[in-house]
Amino acid sequence: MQYSSIFWWTILWVVFWGVTGGIGTRRVYLRKDLDTSNATLGGSLIGAAFGPFGLAPLWWKSPEIGRVMITLSSLVVIGIIAVAFANADPENNCVSNGSFVASQITNGLIIGIIYGLMAMGLTLIFSILGIVSFAHGAFYMIGGMLVYYIINVWFPGTHPLIGVLGSCLITFSMGALFERLFLTPMYDGRVERPVEYGILVTFGLSFTLTYLVAALAGFNPVKVKRFFDFPRIRLPDSSDPWLIKTSRGNMELFDTVSISNPRFVAAILSILVLIGLLLFLHRTWTGKGLRAVSQDRDAAAITGINPNRMNMLAFALGCMIAGLSGAVLVQAFSWLPVVGLIPEMRSFVIVVLGGLGSLPGAFVGGTLVGLVEAAGTGCVPNPQKASSYIPAYGMIILTIMLLLRPMGLFGRKFASGAHGKF
């Protein structure tokens, strides 16, 4: 790391112009009374990417900051940081080793899909009920635990998918029950500050569930065997640079990218669930009702949709999705009662990044966070430090996002309903 000062100076430069751009652009756009909803985010990205050379024309011309501009300049920022990093530390695995990079990116994307799924549950709850569920991680943990108990303890020999299904059913009913018992007073103004009430009561639920599971199952990590084995494949057959090679627990693509079986299976299951969820939301009456309520609660109520029923459904679905992401990931990690905490934080990051209440936002946010974490784990020189910092990466993104554009990348300004105001 003899050139690391280059890296830090670059970071300093980028941060300085980013901050200048963020603050200045908003001022400039305000003075010219233009739309400022993108000004802070766009200005800081352009500042970070091009420094004064980007900001001068931006402030001079002050064009409308669109999605293209934001995407381009964020790519440039990433490029600058990558180049600086490569210069500073040419020996690093994620600079010199191409196949490692490809592997990291693929695995980041795969895990990102699962993150996205889990965050989608959170954002679904938020878009309908207007609360952030702090019990999301607890349901994630319970989903995984249930799979372990169903297929290993209660009914040994059951097919893992039945275990997953069972865990979905149970988390769904738990969510519905909790909503009926504890969240109903929020809807009719019996609670003075519904948003805070929602946060605190789900926080309490999370606390209770975590220690309940700990008391029942103990604090020893449990592990579930992988659900499926890969069939043995080698394509093209018996030639040396093969395209795909699988063993039972692993898959290698192009001789470079290696994907572990549990993650792959989890990602496939997540994609299936995602498609199912989207079909449900867009094709069925109930799903359309849900979306209607999330857009305008009062108008939906007039058209004969019962918003209270929808609240229950949304909360239960959200909990089920959290449980499901736990259920598919239990084969990949060892499982503890406190395992939900980091995924929960990550979901917060993702939904804030994508915009609270936006389903596609959750998905994009999930993949972004997956990639960032992969880069973080792979590239930080000291692996021990890297693993300690993993939760922090996301939180840094969250902090920056809240400062630049609180409504997130895809967010609307506010969620629906009387209790969605905040």
Binding site: I199, G204, I390, A392
Partner: protein, 407 residues
Amino acid sequence: MKRQNVPQLLGALIVAFFVAFPFVYSGGNYDYIMHICIIGFFYAILASSWSMLAGYAGQFSFGHMAFMGLGAYTTALFCHYFFISPEPTGICTEFAIGGHYLIVKNPIGVTSTTLTQDCLAQAMDKWNGTVEVTPMPVWLGVILGTIVGGIFGLLIGLLVLRLRAAYLALFTLGFSEILRATISAEIQITRGQAGLELPSLFENGITIAGHFFSKTDKIPPYFVMLFLLLGCLAVLYWLSQSRFGLFVRALREDQDAAAALGVNTTRYKVLVFVVTSSMAALAGTVYAHYVTIITPNNLMILQMSLVVAMAVIAGVESFIAAAIGAILIEFILEMLRTNFSIGGVTVDMTLWRLVFFGIVLMLTLRFARNGLLVPIIDFFTRGHVAAETVARRSDEAADTERRETQS
């Protein structure tokens, strides 16, 4: 005696009880009971300052424990790395101040302690006991920790000005996680999970009223923590009775309306963060010097949950209730530690008590939104209001009737 005076009287009794407690208590486990009291006071400071932040000002922050940790780590790092020596070591970073030298030890992390000693230890080996090196005074660390807590409170307060409810909770949670991750990761400096050791509050013992207390004695830290708690409560009381209390409540209810009536909402929002986070940091510094080791686990979300739950169960809108509730709950939780077995099955109470605690928290939120203690306090202080209102109304009705018949 009027009913309104009952809470004051009770409060005085409780304070008198805790002041007298160490001298009259003669049951078993003396040190253990004292320890619970000290920890109870510690949580009481955190819970009451959090109730000022969340209950009065409406800023539901999940970063309160992070400020506690900031204070604790500030004083820990300060006491760990800074020393004063009359002679220069020649190998450490050092600054000449008057005739003495301020020595900054080099960070060597955890693993290498046995292999290469830090520079000060090497120098002391060389001096062979001829030079007396003075560690930094504990009180200076406490003050520094409090100031650092306040500064960070100011920064966070400024950053969250535009954020409301859900976003504020997420942001503060993020802040505390970043802090925790940084402390666990920067092992070179903070020694990570191994924790930093600190000198205890009175490293060389202390003599009070002719009686010598050694550094492991519980009475001095007991009174330090108790008076800290009383001091914090006094400050909070004074604040709540002054315009500060009125304004932060107004901005909790309606920020725009408060501003339209001339309240500088920005100033008071930031101020409440500064005040409460420096209180948390202060509690953290003293706590760290009492337990003499601090690890990043102290910043875990579990600890924050405890503070939140204590305040909410007792009643988040009264810091007095939060403080009393914190002490009570700490005691109940400790009392429930004993495992027992029913029909051959051992019930692990260390976990089950937390389950019950969580259920109580949820039920309190659901059915007693003001907490369990606040209604009792209200019964005494505000119990007369409804009757008064009715009485006044009938008085006035009679008045108007009389006026109408006269005219």
